[in-house]
């Protein structure tokens, strides 16, 4: 992995650490309203200032980061596992199973993703879980298609034929021989997906469809503070920068992994 990849990984690890160790770092409760210190500019007491209800922005940023990153990573993981398994079965089994699964994939991919995510999160009760479900319900499809293509080409290779002629059962071939071959590809895709999910999650919570107030997420922080953009720009800037930096690190990491494993999947991503 090149320097950029390592750097991205380092920054991501740092952001993770800060977010998950938030209670140890900031002394403030992210949801505690303090009417004596409304919209204060960054100072020694409140490093990133306070918002329109006097809540400490650094605290909200870190606690919110845990949610935003958690949702994105979990959704990337769920879509990866589901897509990996279904793509494997679809590619190896072929026939009717393949046709059925791939029609479903085509159907999901023929929806504009953000709109469908909105549709799914509207139907489910508003909250963190529904955003995660919406992201994974759509995200697995592109994984499945990618893995299926990979399995189709692997299927013809000599080691699979050898395994088959030694009498391996289909499930053994899929799990022992094909699955490990698909893991690097899936991880690269998951890295790139997580970057996209950070942005989609932020978009959904910007629309008020994610975690409900008073819980902070980066998207909802921008949404509630955007009216103060001229008078208290620090309220908008810190979550915006966090979203961009995190998404960028995931994307750079994905790119670096792609180069490392020399995966020619540029056009499918």
């Amino acid at each position: 992995m090149g320097l950029t990849g390592k750097l991205a990984l380092g920054v991501l690890a740092f952001i993770f650490l800060l977010s998950f160790a938030a209670p140890l770092i900031v002394p403030y409760d992210p949801n505690a309203i303090d009417l004596d210190s409304l919209r204060q500019a960054p100072s020694a007491r409140h490093l990133l200032g306070t918002d329109n209800k006097g809540r400490d922005i650094l605290a909200r940023l870190l606690y919110g980061g845990k949610i935003s990153i958690g949702i994105s990573l979990l959704a990337a993981l769920v879509s990866m596992i589901v897509g990996l398994l279904l793509g494997l079965v679809s590619g190896y089994t072929g026939g009717k199973v393949d046709t059925a699964l791939m029609s479903l994939v085509d159907l999901i991919l023929s929806f504009p993703a953000f709109l469908l995510a909105i549709g799914i999160s509207i139907v489910l009760p508003a909250g963190i879980c529904s955003v995660m479900i919406a992201l994974s319900a759509i995200g697995w499809a592109s994984f499945a298609r990618l893995i299926r293509g990979h399995v189709l080409s692997l299927k013809e290779s000599a080691f699979i034929e050898a395994a088959r002629s030694l009498g391996c059962s289909s499930s053994r071939i899929m799990i022992v021989h094909l699955l490990p071959q698909c893991i690097p590809l899936s991880l690269v895709m998951a890295g790139l997906k997580a970057g996209g999910y950070i942005i989609t999650e932020a978009g959904l919570s910007f629309l008020g469809l994610g975690a409900q107030p008073p819980t902070a997420t980066w998207g909802s922080m921008i949404s509630t503070s955007r009216v103060f953009i001229t008078s208290a720009s620090w309220m908008v800037f810190s979550p915006g920068i966090m979203i961009t930096v995190t998404a960028m690190c995931f994307n750079l990491l994905g790119d670096a992994l792609k180069e490392k494993y020399d995966i020619g999947m540029n056009k499918t991503l």
Partner: protein, 305 residues
């Protein structure tokens, strides 16, 4: 045209999903018509009237029949027909979508090309880094930054509203950024792939000047993946850039959907979802037809690339 026939099951699938989403919405439509306190007899009567007592399959058939007539229901709040509202707002969305594609497509292809040509050099690295940051900026954040800078600080352009060029510019730039970045990335990898192909070496060996090689041979081969990306992005803009339109107060389908989301105005949301998806499918179909003419290889091998 096998591809055209494939659209029919796709349409059924899409309507089945939007139908089940509609069915899964919280709240009973009967109660929203007559209120919670009505007597059981009245509720039963309304239930019969709107067909809520029939089987799910019959209800789906009724849903399709209404859709074919262009009926998307009425807004819970304004009482206006959703289809009418959408037909008023769609032209605005279309203007915004095409404006941002006019910005994104030439710039994206140009910089992607430049990046591939200077592969590994400083220019390439800078462009690559910028394109990664382009796909990492959520539009509501870059939109706010542009608005802060150009409208509130410099007072060049109005911060929001629907109208002429001065209103169109900021949302169009905002919306074009992710597409621009994606196009740069795709153009770069495609062109790098093509530059290694034997036909390019042949062209060079024949003594065709470098600009000729770039313009004719490389660009022509790169066309197909680029058309795909442009088509996909345009398709997703045409179903309403929910976030961008909201921030800039652009009166298109996206903002309409957003208002629906805030008020939990389900017919509006579902109408936007359905129309948006149909537009998306239609654009994809057009892209496929363009392939057919742009690349003779597709004609030989069928639609399966």
């Amino acid at each position: 045209m096998k591809r055209l026939l494939l659209v029919i099951p796709l349409l059924f699938g899409i309507t089945a999903i939007t139908f089940s989403l509609t069915k899964a919405l919280p709240g009973d439509p009967v109660y929203s018509i007559v209120g919670e306190r009505s007597s059981p007899e009245i509720i039963e009567k309304i239930r019969k009237e709107i067909g809520a007592d029939k089987s799910v399959v019959r209800q789906y058939a009724g849903y399709i029949a209404l859709l074919v007539q262009g009926e998307l229901g009425r807004s819970y709040f304004t009482g206006r027909k959703v289809a009418d509202d959408i037909s008023v707002k769609f032209p605005n969305t279309m203007r915004l979508a095409f404006a941002s594609m006019i910005i994104a497509a030439p710039l994206g292809i140009f910089f992607g090309f430049l990046s591939a040509k200077r592969r590994g050099k400083l220019t390439d690295r800078v462009i690559t880094l910028l394109s990664v940051s382009g796909i990492s900026f959520p539009v509501f954040w870059s939109g706010l930054l542009l608005m802060l800078f150009f409208s509130l600080k410099l007072r060049f352009l109005p911060p929001s509203g629907t109208g002429g060029m001065q209103y169109l510019l900021l949302p169009a730039i905002t919306l074009s950024l992710p597409a621009l970045a994606t196009l740069v990335r795709i153009t770069r990898v495609t062109v790098i792939d093509i530059m290694d192909m034997p036909c390019i070496r042949t062209a060079r060996a024949k003594g065709i000047p470098e600009t000729g090689v770039s313009m004719i041979h490389i660009l022509k081969n790169a066309l197909i993946p680029l058309i795909t990306v442009i088509g996909l992005e345009l398709g997703s803009y045409l179903n309403g850039a929910v976030l961008t339109e909201t921030i800039f107060g652009w009166d298109g389908i996206g903002r309409y959907a957003m208002e629906g989301i805030i008020k939990r105005d389900y017919p509006v949301i579902m109408g936007c979802l359905l129309v948006g998806t149909l537009v998306f499918v239609f654009i994809n179909l057009v892209v496929d037809v363009i392939y057919h003419y742009a690349d003779p290889r597709v004609r030989v091998h069928g639609t399966d690339r």
